[in-house]
């Protein structure tokens, strides 16, 4: 399906939340990198689950438990298909990207990364891909190494290669930057890291919804992402891990479901993925997540990316024409994120005035304080696009920014 064939009006119609006024103006929702809105299919899946077959999964023999279990596992299969995982056993349900990264840090990290070992991350990390490693380094005595970022907002690949050594145990970087939009050359990074004997975790929070994703082809060891950033429910994320790694590493949380047999002397853990899913999981949201995957598949990743790219290009062009506006992050390849600063204007003031015009953007450091320090700024205003956004909305943003500038100067 080509870009021109996408029926955005029909797609928008599937998102009830978009049909409202904020401060008397039609809502323009440009905070999609924080969380996307949810289509009716996802909302209805949640309602259907609670109205029709709410039950605890896996152990129950009764009909509702069977139905809930089967819907829960169908999502696992759908996710496996979506990311081209060799097997659905390699898909672990978590509470989000952050939870997935913490899982890797507290399992693989605790058991395999020790004193003198190094973990490579980058200057563009979200705090979620910094703090879990700092915590690990505190307990295990390993060291963090940081890949620098260029003025354009791209990873310094030569710098990365210099950091790689036989001490590197893990490379953990984002598929795409939440603050700048930069798409990182993850395939190349994975290849180089593997050649050095290191494992790779990709923080896919900003990648999964927008970029082609084939974990088999990437040969990635771990890939983490959240469903709520890809039209699905909040409180639900994924950790993909290669079977041999997941089987080798210890579990993280103890409790029900993750065991095969418990005695006071010894507990035998369950197989993957259940070994990592202690306690009653977030069943309803997992069940509804399948509808989010199907929504993306119904449009097609390629068509979706092409359309979002056209929004990105248009927004970059019209925003750049505003005097005093500077786009932060000018990488050659970006997801649909435009981060900018306005000369002499505080981003909070800009956001307040945009909100009064019905425009939702995000401002601040975007949980990437080291990156903001790198650019010597306190924060940016960020507009991020999803498939239901339109060129007309970008025009409204431009007018909104110009109005704010007029008011504040």
């Amino acid at each position: 399906m080509g870009v021109s064939n996408l029926d955005i009006k029909t797609i928008r119609g599937q998102f009830p939340v978009l049909d409202q006024k904020i401060n008397g103006k039609p809502l323009v929702y440009f905070d999609n990198a924080a969380t996307t809105q949810k289509p009716k299919q996802v909302i209805n899946a949640l309602i259907d689950y609670y109205q029709g077959y709410n039950a605890n999964i896996h152990r129950g023999i009764h009909t509702l438990a069977e139905r809930a279990t089967s819907a829960f596992e169908e999502t696992r299969a759908a996710i496996a298909r979506f990311i081209n995982a060799p097997s659905s056993d390699e898909v672990i349900f978590t509470y989000g990207t952050t939870d997935s990264i913490n899982l890797v840090a507290q399992t693989f990290g605790r058991s395999s990364i020790g004193k003198g070992d190094e973990i490579i991350i980058s200057t563009m990390e979200h705090h979620s891909n910094i703090v879990p490693w700092q915590m690990l380094c505190e307990t295990n005595g390993c060291t963090l190494k940081i890949i620098p970022v260029s003025d354009e907002g791209e990873l310094d690949m030569a710098g990365f290669e210099k950091l790689l050594s036989d001490r590197t145990r893990l490379v953990s970087i984002p598929h795409a930057s939440n603050a700048l939009g930069t798409v990182n050359p993850i395939k190349q990074i994975i290849r180089k890291a593997h050649a050095a004997g290191a494992k790779v975790l990709i923080d896919g929070a900003q990648g999964a919804a927008h970029l082609e994703l084939d974990v088999k082809d990437l040969d990635v060891d771990f890939y983490a992402f959240s469903l709520h950033k890809m039209y699905g429910p909040t409180g639900m994320g994924i950790l993909f891990g290669k079977r041999e790694l997941l089987e080798a590493i210890p579990p993280y949380r103890g409790g029900g479901e993750m065991i095969r047999e418990v005695t006071f002397e010894k507990t035998i853990y369950n197989d993957i993925p259940y070994k990592f899913e202690a306690g009653t999981p977030n069943i309803a949201d997992v069940v509804a997540a399948k509808a989010a995957v199907e929504f993306i598949e119904s449009i097609g990743k390629e068509a979706l990316a092409a359309y979002e790219n056209s929004l990105l290009n248009y927004a970059t062009e019209v925003l750049s024409s505003i005097e005093g506006l500077q786009i932060v992050g000018q990488a050659k390849e970006k997801v649909s994120v435009v981060s900018f600063i306005m000369e002499g204007i505080h981003h909070q003031d800009l956001a307040v005035i945009l909100d009064q015009q019905g425009i939702a953007v995000r401002t601040g450091h975007h949980c990437t304080q080291p990156l903001m320090q790198r650019f010597n700024i306190s924060g940016t205003t960020r507009a991020s696009f999803a498939v239901y956004n339109t060129i007309e909305e970008i025009d409204i943003l431009k007018t909104g920014v110009e109005r704010a500038v007029k008011m504040l100067r």
Binding site: H346, Q348, D349, A351, V352, Q357, R403
Partner: protein, 142 residues
């Protein structure tokens, strides 16, 4: 004018505006008019905690009245406007009046809707700081 008379005057001014953007413009313009304070007051001691942008405030007693002086970083215009309005209402009154004031104008003019919930924390901190000055000075001999 009493604190309440000043509040009523501001409420009346705001009633002229239908569009929330006009209210914001009014606040921004107040911020622009705020005279700057000496750099020696632009320190952590006088910084209002909880504001997203940097705003400083200090108080001086003249006779039995307390006077407030505030400033913010040049880019933080809405925050400067908010502190300017609070100074307009509370400055020049007795510490007791300030400490016990009921700032109903904030709700009436929809100031809370003009600030994000994160910034509302900053607004509350501004009010708290001014009332703390009032409470502190009311304990001290004039």
């Amino acid at each position: 004018m009493t604190i309440n008379e000043k509040q009523d005057e501001i409420i009346e001014n705001f009633e002229l505006f239908d569009d929330p953007l006009d209210k914001t413009q009014y606040i921004i313009d107040l911020g622009k008019k705020l005279s700057s304070i000496d750099d020696r007051y632009k320190t952590d001691e006088y910084l209002i905690k909880g504001c997203q942008s940097r705003v400083w405030l200090y108080a001086e007693r003249k006779g039995n009245q307390l006077y407030f002086y505030g400033d913010g970083e040049p880019e933080a215009q809405i925050a400067k406007g908010l502190i300017s309005m609070l100074i307009e209402v509370l400055s020049g009154h007795t510490p007791e009046e300030i400490a016990n004031s009921d700032l109903y104008f904030i709700e009436k003019v929809g100031m809370r809707n003009l600030v994000t919930s994160r910034r509302a924390g900053g607004l509350n901190s501004m009010i708290q700081k001014m009332k703390q000055y009032g409470a502190l000075y009311s304990q001290l001999p004039a």
